[in-house]
Each structure stands twice: as structure tokens, then as C-alpha cells.
């Protein structure tokens, strides 16, 4: 099997390099998914049905507009086998599900992607904050989520193992939607108490959790005093004031805070390390070229918005295991400029789509 080039290519240093690398990777992934020898039944049928030949048409990122916005309903309705590239045929796959609340969840299948994503992410972590050979604790959604295996792999990859405390976000959302706030609070306490027990009896250095659970944990114990040196956090909106609160007070300015933006369909977007000028406004950068994020005009999603403007987050996933063009996430963000570390567009202050107009139930996830 051909190695996944994106995992080994040296990081680009300029926006031009990044763009060239992305275009080259895009061509390779399109060729892979639309060639009969290696391709994916779903996409091969799409090409046949529409009469569009993406291998000929898609040379650079702008050409992705030949695809309509990806309809995520197909991740619920299509048989899983329809997403298996020919080159992976016969290899058992792992089934991952997105958050979901009720009904049929979206499902993505995969083989090694989550490992590749988290090995790349591992390279962004400092050993001082996330010590090699140090135990991890994951307090958050496990179950059918990619995150569960990914965090365990991350811990293993960094030389140790991971404890788990599960939180079922579907149940929390149901409780909140039906205004059973006492039950939601009790469930959260139940989850946090289990984490406190682990941290009290085992030596743990690194933690993955959601912001709300992190805050609740800090109500019970001092996180730095419990031995946690780094927290890798994701899941819900982190506005600047909230981020500042987490860094300065919840983590007491002593434990490293690593916010991330990710999901089952993308992988993991890293944040640009915060500087005083950022005033705790977080910007995430997609794991390009394996995935790319654009901030688009919600009414005309073919156009990106200007830098500094709010728009809807659009995700394109580009791996040999999974191709998903121009999926409109249920998030909005500010389009941010490339930075030295990640010379491509970033997404800032991500929050649920429509958050400025209405209150959105995020629960603890």
C-alpha cells in the first residue's frame, strides 16, 4: 500500500509552499478516490452520475468548487462499505460516530487516520508539559468516538498509558434540552468525582477533557497540585474571557493549556500558541494538507469572507481513507491570517453557527 505522503512531508514554511503542498496533496487524494483501482464506491458513483471527472477538473484547491457542499446525511444513510476505498478492501475498519443526540448518528470509518493525526499532533506538544512516559487521563466522551482511541494512541505514542472516565454527551444534551438541570448537574458531578478518584490514587501528568468538565474538576481539586502538567482541551466554545479564566484561574497559570478544535470528520486542528497580543483569542489551524478549513459566507458558501470577518466554517478532509469536500460545519468563526507556525488560513473564536443570534445548547461537550 502507498504510504500516506502527508504524514511524512516536511512542514511548509511559507504560504506559497503551503498552498503548493496542499494542491499537490489534493491532486493525489482526488486521483486516489476517483481511480477505479484505489477509489471509493461512493465517489466513483458520484463521478459517473454527474459526468464530472474530478481527476481532470481538480488541480488546485479553488477547483474544489466542482463539488457541492458535502451532504452529511450520506454518512447516516449510505452502507459503510460504500466508503471503503478499493485499496482498503478486505481490511476490517473501525467505525466512529459523531456527537449525535437522538436518532441515527453520522458514522465515519477509518483505519490509521486517527493514529496519523495524533502522531502529528504529538509533535506540537512539549515534553515539559506532556511528559514522555507520563500517564494520561481522558475525562470526556469515549464510547463510539474516534477521540477515545485517538487519546489512547497519543498516550501510547508518547510512551505511556491512559485512564478513562466516560461522559455520554448525548445523555447530557437530552437532560439539558428537557430542562432536567439537576440531573445534568448530578451526572457531571458523577463524572468529575470519578476523575478525582483516579487523580487521587494514581500519578497522572496529562489530561484531556472538555472546558466545562475542566472547570468542574478545578472546583474539587487543584489541577496543578494533582500533578497535571498539561491539559489538552476541546469540545465547546472557548471565548477569550473564558480561555483567560481557564488559563489563569482554573489551571492557576501553572498547568499548560492546549486548546484544540476537532471532530470525527476532520481530525484535530491545533491552536497558535497564545501571545499577549492575542488577548486570549484562540485561532486554530487545520492539519493541512490532510484537512483544510475555510471561513465562508453563509449565504454564498463558495466565497470565503475577508480576514477578520465572521463566517461559517467549511471543512474539506483529504486523506486516503476519507475524502469529504466542502462540508459546512455547524460552527462559525473569524477568518484569521496564516502564522509562522501554520502558514495557511486559521479559524478564530470558533462557536456554534448562529451563536450571535440565539442561545445554543452545548452541554458539556
Amino acid at each position: 500500500m502507498t504510504a500516506d505522503v502527508s504524514a511524512t512531508t516536511a512542514a511548509p514554511r511559507t504560504t506559497e509552499d503551503a498552498r503548493r503542498a496542499l494542491d499537490a496533496h489534493l491532486r493525489e487524494i482526488v486521483r486516489w478516490h476517483f481511480s477505479p483501482e484505489t477509489g471509493t464506491p461512493f465517489w466513483l458513483d458520484w463521478a459517473k452520475r454527474t459526468g464530472i471527472d474530478p481527476i481532470a477538473r481538480v488541480k488546485i484547491v479553488d477547483d474544489l468548487l466542482v463539488f457541492p457542499n458535502f451532504a452529511d446525511e450520506s454518512l447516516r444513510s449510505e452502507p459503510l462499505e460504500r466508503w471503503v476505498p478499493a485499496a482498503y478492501k478486505g481490511r476490517p475498519f473501525t467505525i466512529f460516530e459523531t456527537g449525535g443526540t437522538t436518532g441515527m448518528p453520522k458514522q465515519r470509518i477509518g483505519w490509521e487516520d486517527y493514529k496519523t493525526d495524533y502522531e502529528q499532533f504529538s509533535a506540537t506538544l512539549r515534553d515539559a508539559d506532556f511528559p514522555r512516559n507520563g500517564y494520561w487521563l481522558m475525562m470526556g466522551p469515549t464510547g463510539p468516538r474516534r477521540l477515545r482511541l485517538a487519546i489512547e494512541h497519543l498516550a501510547n505514542y508518547r510512551g505511556c498509558s491512559c485512564f478513562f472516565v466516560d461522559l455520554d454527551p448525548r445523555w447530557v444534551k437530552k437532560l439539558i434540552s428537557s430542562k432536567q438541570f439537576d440531573q445534568a448537574k448530578a451526572y457531571m458531578e458523577h463524572v468529575v468525582d470519578q476523575a478525582v478518584t483516579i487523580l487521587t490514587h494514581r500519578r497522572v501528568n496529562a489530561l484531556f477533557t472538555t472546558p466545562k468538565l475542566l472547570e468542574a474538576l478545578a472546583e474539587k481539586i487543584s489541577i496543578p497540585d494533582a500533578g497535571i502538567r498539561g491539559v489538552f482541551c476541546g469540545g465547546t466554545t472557548m471565548e477569550p474571557q473564558y480561555t483567560r479564566f481557564l488559563v489563569e484561574e482554573v489551571l492557576e497559570g501553572r498547568t499548560k493549556f492546549v486548546p484544540t478544535y476537532g471532530n470525527t470528520l476532520m481530525g484535530l486542528a491545533c491552536h497558535k500558541p497564545l501571545t499577549p497580543e492575542d488577548r486570549y483569542s484562540i485561532t486554530y489551524y487545520a492539519p493541512q494538507p490532510r484537512a483544510m478549513l475555510r471561513v465562508v459566507d453563509p449565504d454564498h458558501p463558495e466565497h470565503v469572507v475577508e480576514y477578520g470577518q465572521w463566517g461559517r466554517v467549511e471543512l474539506t478532509t483529504l486523506t486516503k481513507e476519507f475524502f469529504m469536500p466542502r462540508f459546512l460545519e455547524r460552527d462559525e468563526a473569524i477568518r484569521r491570517r496564516p502564522c509562522d507556525l501554520y502558514p495557511w488560513d486559521g479559524v478564530g473564536e470558533v462557536r456554534p453557527f448562529g451563536a450571535s443570534k440565539t442561545t445554543i445548547v452545548e452541554g458539556v461537550y
Partner: protein, 474 residues
């Protein structure tokens, strides 16, 4: 010139949030101030130190605290006090409060005087509410009184207050609290940061410990955090909020008042004597408060009374907020006034209900302006307590004149915050005194709006904050 900025006060220490809201003039949209917004977690964390607020206050004798609060009253009403990085005179304060709440300036001044009155009469107020308890017992937690051991235990080191935007007079409820050696966690209404900040500054200048006051502006989730983390909290809300917290000893809810005037059968024929009292009770202070009368209940003459009230109140129209005679407060959110107007119009479709003011008003009830709206006084006549408008309250001068036999009235009025009963019929007065659905009872010709601060309001604050318990020593 940069706008004044209200920081969060974390036990008296200013904290500037990265999340800032700009508060604007209700009529012009002019930006007036910026307010740091707390995130709920700040309250949870700060509450770990709440005991220090009480410790600091307990170090000062109650009598001395009363004296300092009296000094604060003078500062509040007369002095130029810090406002973020700037300073604010009392006249600026009145202008700003009016500009964001929609209350006419003369009513803002009146409310300032009301707060001044509370702070300068704390000795008498606390003496009355504690039934003359030796205040040393509050400080020590126990002590002998008339040869009997009494123990008063604080239920909480601080009182949480989730304050409204539209009724500056309600601040009177929390002013006595520091004198009881209990700290304050205030969550101001989004449009009314002025009073809590100014009062806090007056308290500090008068020598109250900074660490006794926390001030956390923010959204509804911040209010929830106060309720969830402070062991005793007072909140203001709708009937639904009242129901939500009914029976919860940690939360005292101040909801709609549904305040009423009942003219007994023996006095109702002389109703004209009480017309001024009725008008004042309905319309004073813009008719916004829970103590404003929303129902006149009589067994006869209901139509004549409605006509007479409508004649007096119908022509009342909005005036600019700086007009010393401005009778009405603006709805700073026009949609709220439109919604209320729609509800009234729908309810008027019911037979047996009539808007008597319509013919005296000379225009619509709803007055739309560019960025706000007003609702002009409305008197409806209801031929029976069963009409949907018979027992309703709105935030403007609105009252129903309801025809109801005296024998049914006490049951029919439902929960009533202030009830003025005009009757010399001893049997009826007895029944009124026993009616548990009435909170504040005025026997005789007392306007519903005339509060005696020496009396408890919707529960005695002392029994909310302190628990009387047994203590024996060997």
C-alpha cells in the same frame, strides 16, 4: 472621550473582563458606558473566599456599620464618586440611569431619596425587623436576652442579589444587609449597572471593607451561577420564576405583586373619597412596580369607578425623560411593549371586559418611538373576577376594576403582595387579617405604593439570612 468602564468587583478588587458590553441610551442609541462581563466560573471560584466577607464585616460592630452606611447614604446622594476610571456626580448618575432604564429623571431622583432614606434609618429598620434584638448576638452568634439564651446563625456569609434592570427602587432591599454583617454578591441588571456600582463606591468611601462586596455584571448564566453558588439569593422574576423556586429555602423570589385595593361593602358608596389614593397607587413611579395597584375590587359602583379613573389617567401621555412631570417610563425594548399591547388587545375581545380609558386617551395605547415605546395608562372594567384581565399585572399604569361580591373577594384576588382594604366592618377586617394570600396588608386609606420600611417585605430578610436555633452551654 473614552466611555466609562465598569469593572467586575471581586471582593472589592476591580477586574476588567475581556468580554465587554456597551450600554446605550434607550432613545438615541448614544453609547454611555462599557461594562465588563463576568463568566459564571468567576463566581464559583470567588465564592470560596465568601467567608472573608463576613469575617471583615464581623470585625466591625453592627452599630458602627449602621453609622458608616449612614455616611454612605450621604455620599450616594450628594457626592461625586468614582466610576471606573472616571468620576460621576449625582446629577450625571440620574441622567445615566434614566438614559438606560427609560425611567424619567425625576423618578430616578425619587428612587435615590428612597435608598437614602433606607440607609439613614437602618437603626430603626433593623430594630423593627429583628424585634429589638441585641445586635451583638448577630456578631457572636449567641447571647442572653432578658435572661434567655438566644442564638442566631448566619445561613450564608453573603447574600446574592440578581437584580432587575427596570426598577431601581428594588435596591432598597439589599441595603441593610452589610449592617447585618453579611457580605453582598450583586449581579446588576444589564441596563442598570449604575446603582450597584455607585452604592458600592459610597460604601467603600464610608469605610466598609472592600472584601465584603462582589459585583458581577453579565448575562442570565451569571445570574444562574449566583443562584447556584450563593447559599442565600434574592432574585426578581416572572410568575414562572416564582413557581420555579417555590419551596426553595435558598432563594427568595420577588415576582409580580398583583397588588390590589378592596373597597368593602360599608365604604364602597363613598368611593370618590378614595379616587386620589387609587390613582396614586396605580400610577406612581411609572406604574412599574410590584407595589403598584393592578386591581380595584368592589361589589358595586365598579363602572363609575372605572370611568372616574379612566378620566384621570386616560389623557396621560409620555413626556421627555428630563421633564419634571414625565409620568411614564419608556420600554427600552420596544418589542416588549408591543407584546404587552397585543396581549391586552386579545384579552379585550372577551365579553364583559372593556378598555374604559380608550375614549379618554385620544390615541393608541402603544406609542412607538424610534428605538423605544411607551404604553399609556389603561383602566379596564371587568364584570366578573373570571375575566382574564381581572388579575393581571403589567409594567405600566394598568388596573382592572373588578366587580365581585365581598363574600368572594378574598378567595378571588389570589396571591397579592400589597392589599389596601378600606372597610370598617370588623368581621371583614378579621377575615382580611387571616387571609394568607395577602403579604403586606394596609388596613384603611393607605396607597399600595406607600412602603413602611420598618415592616418586612415579602418575608423578613432577617429570617432569610439568619436561623434562630438552640444553644446551651454547660
Amino acid at each position: 472621550m473614552s466611555l466609562p468602564h465598569f469593572p467586575i468587583l471581586r471582593w472589592g478588587e476591580p477586574y476588567e473582563s475581556l468580554d465587554v458590553e456597551t450600554v446605550v441610551h434607550f432613545a438615541t442609541g448614544e453609547e454611555l458606558c462599557q461594562v465588563s462581563q463576568a463568566n459564571p466560573g468567576l463566581i464559583a471560584r470567588d465564592m470560596r473566599q465568601a467567608h472573608r466577607a463576613r469575617q471583615a464585616l464581623r470585625a466591625i460592630p453592627c452599630d458602627e456599620l449602621c453609622r458608616r452606611l449612614g455616611t454612605a447614604a450621604g455620599l450616594f446622594i450628594k457626592s461625586t464618586l468614582p466610576l471606573g476610571s472616571a468620576r460621576q456626580s449625582p446629577e450625571d448618575f440620574v441622567r445615566c440611569q434614566s438614559a438606560t432604564t427609560g425611567l424619567p429623571e425625576h423618578m430616578c431622583r425619587f428612587n435615590m431619596e428612597k435608598l437614602h432614606y433606607v440607609l439613614t434609618n437602618l437603626d430603626a429598620i433593623l430594630g423593627s425587623l429583628t424585634r429589638g434584638l441585641d445586635r451583638g448576638i448577630l456578631t457572636r452568634g449567641y447571647g442572653e436576652e432578658r435572661g434567655v439564651m438566644r442564638s442566631m446563625q448566619a445561613n450564608s456569609p453573603v447574600l446574592g442579589m440578581v437584580l432587575p434592570s427596570n426598577s431601581p427602587g428594588t435596591h432598597g432591599l439589599w441595603l441593610p444587609v452589610p449592617a447585618l454583617q453579611i457580605g453582598l454578591v450583586l449581579k446588576p441588571g444589564p441596563l442598570e449597572p449604575w446603582t450597584p456600582f455607585r452604592m458600592a463606591q459610597a460604601f467603600f468611601e464610608a469605610g466598609l471593607p472592600r472584601e465584603s462586596i462582589g459585583l458581577y455584571p453579565g448575562g442570565a448564566e451569571v445570574g444562574m451561577a449566583v443562584v447556584n453558588h450563593v447559599p442565600r439569593t434574592m432574585i426578581f422574576g416572572s410568575k414562572t420564576t416564582v413557581e420555579q423556586y417555590r419551596g426553595n429555602p435558598a432563594v427568595q423570589v420577588h415576582g409580580p405583586g398583583f397588588s390590589k385595593i378592596i373597597l368593602g361593602d360599608d365604604c364602597v358608596d363613598e368611593w370618590e373619597k378614595y379616587l386620589d389614593l387609587m390613582v396614586d397607587s396605580i400610577a406612581l413611579n411609572g406604574g412599574r412596580g410590584c407595589i403598584n395597584c393592578s386591581g380595584i375590587w368592589v361589589s358595586r359602583h365598579s363602572r363609575e369607578i372605572a370611568e372616574a379613573l379612566a378620566q384621570r389617567l386616560g389623557p396621560v401621555a409620555p413626556l421627555p425623560p428630563d421633564d419634571p412631570k414625565a409620568p411614564l417610563a419608556a420600554f427600552t425594548i420596544a418589542a416588549q411593549a408591543e407584546g404587552i399591547n397585543g396581549m391586552i388587545e386579545n384579552a379585550l375581545a372577551e365579553s364583559g371586559v372593556e378598555d374604559v380609558t380608550a375614549k379618554y386617551r385620544g390615541g393608541e395605547r402603544l406609542v412607538r418611538e424610534q428605538r423605544c415605546a411607551y404604553l399609556r395608562p389603561t383602566i379596564v372594567h371587568c364584570d366578573s373576577p373570571k375575566r382574564s384581565l381581572a388579575n393581571t399585572e403589567f409594567m405600566f399604569p394598568f388596573a382592572a376594576v373588578v366587580e365581585c361580591p365581598q363574600s368572594d373577594v378574598l378567595k378571588a384576588i389570589g396571591d397579592t403582595l400589597v392589599c389596601t382594604v378600606i372597610s370598617n366592618d370588623e368581621a371583614f377586617r378579621c377575615a382580611v387579617v387571616d387571609a394568607t394570600n395577602i403579604d403586606r396588608l394596609n388596613l384603611g386609606a393607605v396607597p399600595t405604593t406607600r412602603l413602611n420600611w420598618l415592616q418586612p417585605h415579602e418575608g423578613n430578610i432577617i429570617s432569610f439570612l439568619y436561623r434562630e436555633r438552640a444553644l446551651q452551654s454547660g
